[in-house]
Every structure is written in structure tokens, then in C-alpha cells.
Amino acid sequence: MGAGGIAIGRRGITILLLPVVAIVTAGYVLPGLVLLVMSFGVVPTRPSWAQFTLEHYERLLGDVYYARIIGYTLFFGLIVATITALIAFPVGYYLARSRSRLTSLYAVVTFTPLAVGMNMLTLGWMVILSRTGFVNSLLTGTGIVTEPLHLLYGWGAVIVGMVHVTFTFMVLPIEAVVRQIDPALEKAARTLGAGPLRTFWEVVLPLSLQGIAAGFLIVFLQVCGAFVLPLLLGGQGFTVVPIAIWEQITVSSDRPFASVLSVTLILVSLIVMMLQLRIARGKDLV
């Protein structure tokens, strides 16, 4: 633009973007590239083509153990996202539609899983589910069971915990999308003879799909990348990709293979992000 216009010209845009691009490049792009390079066995300080090898990837593909871990991770993501969607939808719908003054208080409550930190939530569920924890003391105290149940370690505990952790990410896009549905549509369906459930199934649900999908993908991403809660609530033998990466570093010190696992996880994230962008198409649902 010339001096007369007030739009920011191409040079202005570049200057405005320079600092952010510099930090993101140094703090994020370069580390990512290092991981990629190392996953091919190349030592980035003294790189040479002779080091290039696919052996670490071959190990990943050749070992059923790792195929199973990747499968578990994806399944874990799907199952948590599905459960969270089912639990969160009525809440999101309620927040969007209710005119009660309590909803602003409720909005604070829905934010707590994001705000209080993973250690707090993990600890909370550990206290609830452990041998000497809340549930077991309630059950043994009332005499329903005589021996404490094994609730803490394994799929059940991790799924419960992750549903809690990711709840906010699901409820927000659902609430946003329901807000955009004109309540008159539901009234119209009711006057045309549809009951509440029919109205939900024929009108509300189809119009909410975009929000549900957006929430589903974010939750899926969060679960696939989750580390602290699965490690502590899953216990021995519960292994997903991030835990495997951690073990490669802390136990085996196998950096190239940790890089291979990392690149795999990044690929999954990139694919989900592409899907996300297609669904969002410029709309800000989160």
C-alpha cells in the first residue's frame, strides 16, 4: 500500500511476523528437525550420509510389541474421545441453552480440568481409586466388599482420568456449536410433531456434528500425546507411545529409537491437525 492507505503492507506484515517466526523456528522447528534427523541414525553434530539408516524404523515396523503399542495408543484415543463426547454433549447443550445465572459459575467448573494441572487430577484419581482410597474405604466401610478392589492400575483408571482431563476440550466446541443453532428450529420441529428425542436426533445432532467432530479430534490428540496420567494411573504394563518414548530415554537411553517413536507420534498429530483444519474451515469453535 502507498503512504495514503492505512492497510498494513507486505513489508509491515513481514516485520510483525518476524519475532514470532524466529522464536517458533528456534524453539520448535529446529528441535523437530533434530528429532527427524536422529530418527534416521544421523548424529546432527557430525552429520554424514554414511550414518543414514532405516534400521530404527525397521525395528518399529518389525516388532509386534511396538505395533501393539501404537494400536493401543490410537484405540485409547478413540475410546476416550467417544466417552467424553457422550458425557459432555448434554452438558455443552445445557450450557448453550440454559439462561440460568448459575451457568457462568458452571463455566468456571468446566475449565478446572485445564487449569489445575495434570498432577492435581492424577493425584485426585489416585486417592479416589487406590487400595486405601475413597471408593475402597466406602465399599469396605459399608461392608459391600470385604477385600479392597484393584481399581487403580490399568485401562479403567486411565480412561476415567483422561475423560476428566479432556472434558473441557469437548464441552467448549459443543457449547459453541449449539449456540449457533437457532432455538426456533427446535420449536419448529416440536410444533411439527417431533418429540424431544426425535427433535434431538433429527435437528440438534446433525447441526452439532461439526462441533462434536472438532472436540473429538482435539481430545483424540490430547489422549494420544498424554503421558503423566497414563504413566501414574496405568501402572506397570500399561504402555502407550509417550510412555514408550520416556522409557527409551530414561531406561534404555536409545535416542534414535525414541526419535522414531516421536516422529511417529508427530505424524499422527499432523494427520489429525489436517483433519481439524478441514473441519474448522476458518470457524473458531475452540
Partner: protein, 358 residues
């Protein structure tokens, strides 16, 4: 008076985006104190023209001068203009006094002087009792007054109004139009007013520039625009009218249409035979009675009747399906379907050929 400088001059100003001309060779000049409207349908280029005067857009070609100084390469803050925006654009986080004083603050005027002049400006538009309020605590009319005070406080060479009355309800709008017009006349401030509302443009302006597709179709005083539109487009845009398609034939030339042959009204240039459009304002057409005699008469029947309170308009359809709009006395009682004869004096008609008035 060739020596008197113009407050605003546009010389062959054009603006195009990727080869699409939005404003095309627009030229006009305004004397001090003049009130000029840019009137046209949306997309006609009136807003872009205003944006170029304000400095939000850079002309692709042409020159813009304020008080004989070329300003089209200056940023908006160095053009010394005031502007009232559609929806007012009051700064939501500033009180009324801060909003009004903003321009002086940007110019580094001393605090005490700002306070003084804010009060004066507020008095001018009668908002001196609202200085401590935030914009959202004001009514639409009050917001508009504040916006006007904010624009006027810097004593601009030129005031730009971008559809400022659009957000007001009808009664308040008419009241504000009268008040703003008389205030601006009293201050003698040169004003460019953009609107798509022709009533507003005709009632407030000294001159109106009617724009179509990036061009000024006609720039004239309001009455001249209504009485003698120079193009068929302007004639159709300003006020209501009847257009009869037909041909000029014979010697002497007569206008031939399916509804009859009419006398050719006086023209500036001698017309030539061929396709032409005959043009009549509703006031030019009368209901013919046995006692009256008009140079041109047509028979038809009433197909619609609209009552406006102070006047009444009927639509007369002829057997060839031509429709005539006729302004009638408000007490005229004519049933839909009633046969009627209408007529007009040739002097009250006009003729267009190739879209231009002959």
C-alpha cells in the same frame, strides 16, 4: 470566481483492484461551505471515493486536493479532515469527553485547552451533560452527536459523513438531518456526505452527485436532478417515473409506441429517428376529464392504488401492458379495475436516446 480556492478537488480520480475499476475518472470540486452528497446504490463506488478522500485507500490514478494542496499521498492523520462513521465508531473504552478530545490529544494540544474546547464542542451538539459517560451508555442519537463533536473539534478543512443516519429510527433521523444541516451551514464547513437514501441526499444537500458503477452519472442541485435528469439511469434512480419504450419516426419526428403516438418534447439537440424512451414524472400526468384537454392522452384501467397520507399514487395499465404512475389528489376515489383516461402536456415530458437525455 476563478481565484477562489476550492476546499476539495477531485481530478480524474480512479481506483481499481486487480483490473476491476471501482471508481472511474471521478472529478468534482467543492467551494467552501458546500454540502455535497454522493448518492448511489451499493457498490457504485461512493464509499470507495470517500475512503480515498479520507486516506484509507490510495487512488490508482488522479489527484485529490484539499485547499489547493495535493493530499492523496498523505496518510489520513495528515489531511486535516473530520469524519463521522456509519455506527459512529466511538472508542468504547473512552468516556465521551476523551472521545471528543481525541483529535486534539493526537495533535499534542495542551491539556487545559483540550478540556476547554471539548466543552465548547459538546455544547455545539448539546451533549455537555454526557461528558462522563461511556459510549455504550448513550442512545443512538447521543452517540451520533458525540461522533460529530469529535469530528468537528479539530476544525477540519473538510467533513466527511459516511451514512451517519442509517442506524437511527425514522423520526429521530429526520430531526437529526435538519439539526446537522443547520449546524454545518452555521459553521460554514465543507461537507461530503455518502448515502444510499435519496430523500436524505435531496433534502440535505446543496448538490448531489449520483454515482453508478464507479462513474458520476450527474452532479447537480437536488431540484435539477429531479426535474431534468441527464441520463435514463439517473431518471430512474431519483424519484418515481414512467418510462415508455418506443421509436422516433416521421417528419416532423413523432414518438411512436404501442400506446399511441406522442408529441416530441423540446430537446437540447435535434433528435434523430430510431429507438427512444419517453419519460414522465407522476406529477406530469393528470386524469383526463371531458372538460380538460391534454396534448397527449392514453386510456387504461387502474391496476393499483397507494395511499401515502399526504398524497396518493395510482398505477394505470394500458392494453399493451404499459404502466403509468400517476400522482392524484389524495381524495380521488378510483376502484381497482376502473377505466380511466390520462393525459399530459408535452412540455412536461422528456426524451432519452441511447440512455442520454436529448
Amino acid at each position: 470566481m476563478p481565484d477562489l480556492p476550492y476546499d476539495l478537488e477531485l481530478i480524474a480520480v480512479s481506483k481499481s483492484y486487480d483490473e476491476n475499476a471501482v471508481v472511474n475518472d471521478v472529478s468534482f470540486a467543492m467551494k467552501k461551505g458546500e454540502f455535497l452528497s454522493l448518492l448511489g446504490p451499493s457498490g457504485c463506488g461512493k464509499t470507495t471515493t470517500l475512503s480515498m478522500i479520507a486516506g484509507f485507500e490510495t487512488p490508482t490514478r488522479g489527484e485529490i486536493k484539499i485547499r489547493n494542496e495535493r493530499i492523496d499521498d498523505r496518510p489520513p492523520e495528515r489531511r486535516n479532515i473530520g469524519m463521522v462513521f456509519q455506527n459512529y465508531a466511538l472508542f468504547p473504552h473512552m468516556k465521551v469527553a476523551e472521545n471528543i478530545g481525541f483529535g486534539l490529544r493526537m495533535r499534542g494540544t495542551p491539556r487545559a485547552e483540550i478540556a476547554q474546547r471539548v466543552i465548547e464542542s459538546a455544547r455545539l451538539v448539546k451533549v455537555e451533560h454526557l461528558l462522563d459517560r461511556l459510549p455504550r451508555q448513550l442512545s443512538g442519537g447521543q452517540q451520533q452527536r458525540v461522533a460529530l463533536a469529535r469530528a468537528l473539534i479539530v476544525q477540519p478543512a473538510l467533513l466527511l459523513l459516511d451514512e451517519p443516519f442509517g442506524a437511527l429510527d425514522r423520526l429521530l433521523r429526520e430531526e437529526m438531518q435538519i439539526e446537522v444541516r443547520s449546524l454545518l451551514k452555521r459553521l460554514g464547513i465543507t461537507t461530503v456526505f455518502v448515502t444510499h437514501d435519496q430523500d436524505e441526499a435531496l433534502s440535505m444537500s446543496d448538490r448531489v452527485a449520483v454515482m453508478f458503477a464507479g462513474n458520476i452519472g450527474q452532479i447537480d442541485m437536488p431540484q435539477a436532478l429531479y426535474d431534468s435528469p441527464r441520463t435514463e439511469l439517473v431518471a430512474g434512480f431519483i424519484g418515481k417515473a414512467t418510462f415508455i419504450p418506443g421509436r422516433l419516426e416521421g417528419d416532423p419526428l413523432r414518438f411512436v409506441s404501442p400506446d399511441g403516438t406522442f408529441d416530441v418534447p423540446a430537446t437540447h439537440a435535434p433528435p434523430s429517428s430510431g429507438d427512444a424512451t419517453y419519460f414522465l414524472r407522476p406529477e406530469a400526468i393528470r386524469i383526463a376529464t371531458n372538460a380538460s384537454h391534454y396534448q397527449n392522452e392514453v386510456s387504461g384501467s387502474v391496476i393499483a392504488s397507494t395511499f401515502f397520507g399526504d398524497r396518493k399514487m395510482i398505477m394505470v395499465g394500458t392494453p399493451s401492458d404499459q404502466r403509468f404512475l400517476v400522482a392524484v389528489d389524495r381524495s380521488t376515489a378510483l376502484e381497482i379495475g376502473a377505466p380511466v383516461r390520462i393525459g399530459w402536456m408535452t412540455a412536461h415530458a422528456a426524451l432519452f436516446q441511447g440512455g442520454l437525455r436529448q
